[in-house]
């Protein structure tokens, strides 16, 4: 039994969540129930991609996730803080109502983390944010 578990453990660690670049943004769609190591791995991956591509915005799609516990919740808010230090904005997109309620009851209200109902609205949010920045830059 333990050997079998080890095998599965290895294959999961090899699993990577795909990060797609579209224009100035990175899009991450989390489709699986992540174990803790994978969540941390994803965090590092995203930050590496931001550094590599110079992306200004990251959209994290969690519409498939039926559960976000304290670890994953902290990973997501940590992600937003770390990315902002690298001058990229993170928007969490598509949270399910049951997940939102549970996070609030857990005491994880994720203040300062941008969220949007769906990918479209998330992009609008990023456009507005980056658009404003550009405007300010050109103001005399």
């Amino acid at each position: 039994m333990k050997k079998w578990n080890e095998k599965i453990d290895l294959s999961l660690q090899e699993k990577r969540i795909p990060i797609i670049k579209i224009g100035d943004y990175l899009i991450v769609s989390i489709q699986i129930d992540m174990h803790d190591k994978l969540a941390i791995q994803l965090q590092s991956q995203i930050l590496e991609e931001i550094a590599k591509t110079g992306a200004r915005g990251v959209l994290i799609d969690i519409s498939v996730l039926e559960m976000v516990d304290s670890f994953i919740g902290r990973m997501l808010s940590g992600m937003a803080s770390m990315a902002s230090i690298m001058d990229a904005a993170v928007v969490i997109v598509g949270m399910q109502p049951a997940v939102a309620i549970t996070l609030v009851e857990l005491g994880l209200e994720m203040p300062g983390v941008d969220t949007a109902l769906n990918m479209e609205k998330g992009m609008e949010m990023l456009e507005k944010r980056l658009g404003n920045e550009n405007q300010n830059f050109y103001k005399t």
Binding site: D9, E66, M67, D69, F71, A98, T102, G107
Partner: protein, 141 residues
């Protein structure tokens, strides 16, 4: 654990061993499955699954693993899902303190117990230093 199960006329529907991180994921998916078995609403399913995830992680991180027992039966007149986590880890020195929001253990992360408690109907914990910890949570419909 079987004592209370028999005593209360509950059904022991499953037991899971938590040894690896992957076990945490698998076990919590099974918890959702059991919650669906007693026709729990979606939000309550998510609550008990999340609470279980917190407890399983504790067992894995602080005790290196442990056992999860799942019972289904009647509790206080409700159809309920009873989840018991048992480990032989280092135990919690000050349970009362651990049950306070904002408490963090040595590694900087709390046990997540107060949060888990808020998600369930009944929560009980027994812990003895160097002996182990037993946590039971109950979610009814």
């Amino acid at each position: 654990m079987t004592d209370l199960t028999v005593e209360n006329n509950w059904d022991r529907v499953a037991s899971y061993e938590i040894q690896t991180e992957n076990d945490i994921v698998t076990a919590r998916q099974y918890i959702r499955y059991h919650a669906k078995q007693i026709a729990m609403g979606i939000v309550d399913q998510t609550r008990i699954t999340t609470a279980s995830s917190e407890l399983f992680r504790n067992m894995y991180q602080y005790a290196g693993g442990g056992m999860v027992y799942v019972d289904i039966g009647n509790y206080s007149g409700h159809q309920a899902l009873i989840i018991t986590c048992v480990d032989s880890g280092p135990g919690i020195e000050n349970v009362e303190l651990a049950m306070h929001d904002g408490y963090s253990s040595g590694s900087g992360m709390g046990y997540g117990l107060p949060g888990a408690k808020r998600l369930v109907n009944e929560f009980s914990i027994e812990s003895e230093v160097n002996k182990g910890t037993k946590v039971r949570v109950i979610k009814w419909i």
